[in-house]
């Protein structure tokens, strides 16, 4: 097993990975941009090195800087987290050449899975149904027209190198196609450095179901059940749950087998996620495979009791995967809400500021993964995700009730968050009965009304009137930003509470 590992990432995932590294007795090395110098992922690490810069290119995407730091300081492996270089084959290759273990799949399987077209070809080759798509093309390509005619409108323009909804456009009329492709291409070029796009048939009300896979270097591949990620806003997942209310045991088995087949065909090693679209008629289609640990992995950990990051490290160290497929059964139900510094009542504009009050909820079944502590600045340099809140319960109903109550008690002041919006979703009858799909938010505009604020308005005014008397807050209390020492151990104890 490694004795020292560098975490090439920041924020909540860098905190979370280090938590497991420390549990395993492994020394951690963190890296940081200028604005991240006082961040929790840095403060908790055993060794921390500056990346000298602030843009992603100068810092967390700088392969040379990362490898130099790893080599100079004796890190035997690098955990890439998610985003940044986690799915960059050049980085994985460079690690290999520098004799540093990359905690993830091989550069080759990463390349195949990173190419949305090639990965579909691979899936098709093992008999897994795929969403029909065109080859990569630009708007001048004649093949385009024939695909569009076969697939019909509406259809999707997607980025070949993309993810997270960027470089994606829905086209409803043939006349819009050319312009949509150009726009998507520009966005993809800016986001991923690769402007290639392709067309894909649009499935109108799909559910997004993904399967976690784990594979060791000895060819043993299993799936760790599914996650339903259909609650999305502009193609970004915001709430995930497992098990999926949409799957029967038979469907789960078929989809799980398909996920394993795809991973095996790519000779995939380590943790990955196979994404499917599920049509209301029960047909499923392979969409893509993500060759990294995912944001929403905690819900899988909650229902399987497995530490996925621990397995990533053990597999990377050459150990055998000792979990058997038939042992993988869900225990209870888990749901995750991604807490963002965004204003749901103003078109989700990002909110910036200093966290003046930060009091996450606690209680049975709750877990919080966060890269923020009270007193920290929320800036526009990075993704506005403040935390992931997970609620496990012995059944779906209780996990959702625990989540609703946890969202009610999560106190944040200093930035606007999407917490009230998350709560409206979790409480909504259509979410509660499990009958939702990826169009849920669009179809329920009432979610964007601050209904609870209106109910509480009078009470709020009465409390505000009394605060108006007192002027500014005087005495510092724990959980209050006026506490002078943000770096004190009280604030850096980590935010992962085991269920």
């Amino acid at each position: 097993m490694f004795t020292k590992v560098l975490v090439a990432n920041r924020g909540e995932i860098a905190v979370r990975v280090q938590q497991t590294l420390h549990v395993m007795g492994i020394l951690t090395v963190s890296v940081y941009s200028d604005v991240d110098a006082a961040a929790p992922h840095v403060a908790m690490s055993d060794e921390a090195y500056p990346l000298n810069g602030n843009t992603a290119e100068e810092t967390y995407l700088d392969i040379d800087k990362l490898l130099t730091i790893a080599r100079t300081n004796g890190a035997q492996a690098i955990h890439p987290g998610y985003g940044f270089l986690s799915e960059n084959p050049r980085f994985a290759q460079a690690c290999q050449e520098a004799d540093i273990v990359f905690v993830g799949p091989s550069p080759n399987s990463m390349e195949i899975m990173g190419d949305k077209i090639r990965s579909k070809e691979l899936a098709k080759s093992v008999g897994v149904p795929v969403v029909p798509s065109s080859p990569v093309c630009d708007s001048a390509n004649p093949e385009l027209e024939s695909f569009a005619k076969d697939a019909g409108f509406p259809l999707l323009v997607k980025a070949a190198a993309g993810g997270g909804g960027r470089g994606m456009r829905l086209v409803t009329e043939p006349e819009q196609l050319s312009r949509a492709m150009d726009a998507a291409s520009r966005e993809a070029q800016a986001a991923f450095g690769d402007g290639r796009v392709f067309l894909e048939r649009y499935i109108p009300s799909p559910r997004h179901i993904e399967f976690q896979v784990l594979a060791d270097s000895q060819g043993h591949v299993i799936h760790m059940l599914e996650r339903e990620c259909s609650i999305q806003r502009r193609h970004q997942k915001i709430i995930e749950e497992t098990p999926s209310p949409a799957l029967t045991p038979a469907l789960r088995q078929r989809m799980g087998e398909a996920a394993v087949a795809v991973a095996r065909a790519a000779e995939y090693v380590n943790a990955g996620t196979v994404e499917f679209l599920l049509d209301p008629d029960g047909t499923f289609y392979f969409l893509e495979m993500n060759a990294r640990i995912q944001v929403e992995h905690p819900i899988t950990e909650a229902v399987t009791g497995v530490d996925l990051v621990e397995w990533q490290l053990r597999i990377a160290a050459g150990e055998r995967l000792t979990l058997n497929q038939d042992e993988i059964q869900p225990n209870g139900h888990a749901v995750e809400c991604r807490i963002y510094a965004e204003d749901p009542y103003n078109d989700f504009l990002p909110s910036t500021g200093t966290l003046r009050h930060w009091q996450p909820p606690s209680g049975p079944g709750l877990r919080l993964d966060s890269g923020f502590v009270v007193g920290q600045d929320v800036s526009t340099f990075y993704d506005p995700m403040l935390a992931k809140l997970v609620a496990w319960g012995p059944d779906r109903s209780r996990s959702l009730r625990r989540m609703e109550e946890a969202l009610r008690r999560f106190a944040v002041l200093g930035v606007v968050t999407n917490i009230p919006f998350m709560r409206e979703i979790v409480a909504h009858s259509a979410f509660r009965d499990g009958s939702y799909d990826t169009r849920f938010i669009e179809e329920h505009p009432e979610l964007l009304q601050p209904a609870r604020a209106v109910e509480l308005s009078r009470a709020a005014q009465a409390i505000a009137s009394q605060a108006g008397n007192r002027g500014s807050v005087a005495a510092p209390v724990q959980g209050d930003a006026s506490d002078a020492d943000h770096r004190s151990p009280w604030h850096l104890a980590g935010h992962w509470r085991l269920p």
Binding site: L413, V416, P420, R423, I463, G471
Partner: protein, 189 residues
Amino acid sequence: MSRGRMREQYPTAGQAFAYRVEESSSGVTVYLDDEAVELDIARNSPADGWCRWQGRTLPFATAWIGDELHLWLDGVLFIFQRLEEQQRDRRALRSTDGGSVAPTAGHVPIVEDARHIISRLSGSVLLVSVQPGDSVSVGDEICVVEAMKMEHSIRSSVAGVVKAVNVTPGQQVSTGDILVELEDDSAST
């Protein structure tokens, strides 16, 4: 006892409301627009605690951020602006005849009489558009005041001839301050 005016800005931009907080041996009573509100508060610290509202216990936390009061209450964020703590009296800043308007104590309604153009907000004067001897009509701009990070044009609701201008650029004004005095034969419409 303390009083003032606030306005909810977030999530909904609301109407201004007047508040009065009376502390007595039996507790605190809050009046919103003169109506008593049934609300008990138990504080954990000056900045957070619980309130009893309509049979439920709701957690809350507050923070002043700049000149805004941020309140987290039962999972919902509110932002308020304090408009004016009306304990100050209506007064003149400078008067050409050496006298001044008699101060009145207590709650001062903003009453305009035909000779005074008064400020309806607090802020700093950016520019003054009139001088003594000018004729003003209803709707003419008197001055521009900066408040709440925006520029507000203060317009006359009376017609007349300017007798005295009491403000200069850079000066701070408060709600109720007399900005401009008009000749005695002025009339409002």
